[in-house]
Amino acid sequence: MDFIVQPWPWYVAGPLITLVMLLLYYFGKNFGVSSNLETICAIGGAGRFVDFFKFDWRKKTWNLLFTLGAVIGGFIAFQWLTPSEAIALNSQTVQDLAELNFQNGGAQYLPDEIFSTEAIFSVKGFLILLIAGVLVGFGTRYAGGCTSGHAIVGLSNLEMPSLISVIGFFIGGLVMTWLLFPLIF
């Protein structure tokens, strides 16, 4: 049992993610989380404003259930499989975070500077989370996929559009981390 409660190394997690992809195709579906965003919009009545959302969302129930499962999986892992919240970060990373005024980098699963109750009830903190979400949701649909659909499935299938998208993911991520973080935090 000791192995279960330790953080899992990359060579365990990576192949298990491939297994998840394999299972979804074995059951006749596909692997792509971000299309659920469209499905939830459709359920919420977005079709009244934009015709795209008039599709029959019931055909996507399987993917919503997959997503609900992910929520439950997160709960199970948090409640019973993670005795320590700490993330073992590189000491250089902790130092770089301190320069951005992020204290105790890695002491918890998520940084208080962004995710604490105090942060989300400040105007700046709220906007950071909302804008980050908008960028992810807009970007993933514009690119036609997210980390699962493009980086895992698309790259595995040697798709050029996915390679371009993943290069885009990294351009955006590097610009945010290296250029914009010092301005935002």
């Binding site: 990576g14 195709y25 709960f75 890695g106 989300i120």
Partner: protein, 137 residues
């Protein structure tokens, strides 16, 4: 409830990503700082094995549980859409430290703040479809 199996695959997915810490904001930061191999190892090993799985699909060695051939749909082509959309996604991924799957897993961990990110992501997906005809693809 023939779809109940997807709930279980989702639970597996949630546990894997949670246990591998890839849904931690810190791990995403560290990845973009090139200060750890962890995230590259996770994605790299998933893709390396995925290439083999895709070949097994194409050769018909792995079929669906009903015995049908597995066809993986090609991705929509369009250089600008993939690149610009990808860059916008990357900006948000680094800032929130979460992409769509992890957002939902973090919700299960009880991270209340992630609800704002999810609402933002729904808004973002809506905005894209509202204005997609005006965007270069």
């Amino acid at each position: 409830m023939k779809h109940i199996k997807f709930l279980f695959v989702g639970i597996l997915f949630g546990i894997i990503l949670s246990k591998a810490e890839v849904i931690s904001w810190y791990r995403i930061y560290e990845m973009f700082k090139f200060q750890s191999f962890h995230m590259y190892g996770v994605i790299g090993s998933a893709v390396a094995l995925g290439v083999i799985v895709m070949l097994l699909f194409k050769k018909g060695i792995i079929k669906t549980y009903l015995g049908d051939d597995i066809k993986v749909d090609s991705k929509r082509k369009g250089f600008k859409g993939n690149l610009f959309g990808g860059i916008i996604f990357g900006l948000g991924w680094a800032l929130a430290g979460a992409c769509p799957g992890p957002m939902f897993i973090l919700l299960g961990r009880g991270a209340v703040a992630i609800i704002i990110v999810i609402i933002g992501a729904l808004l973002g997906a809506f905005l894209y479809h509202a204005m997609k005809r005006k965007l270069p693809h």
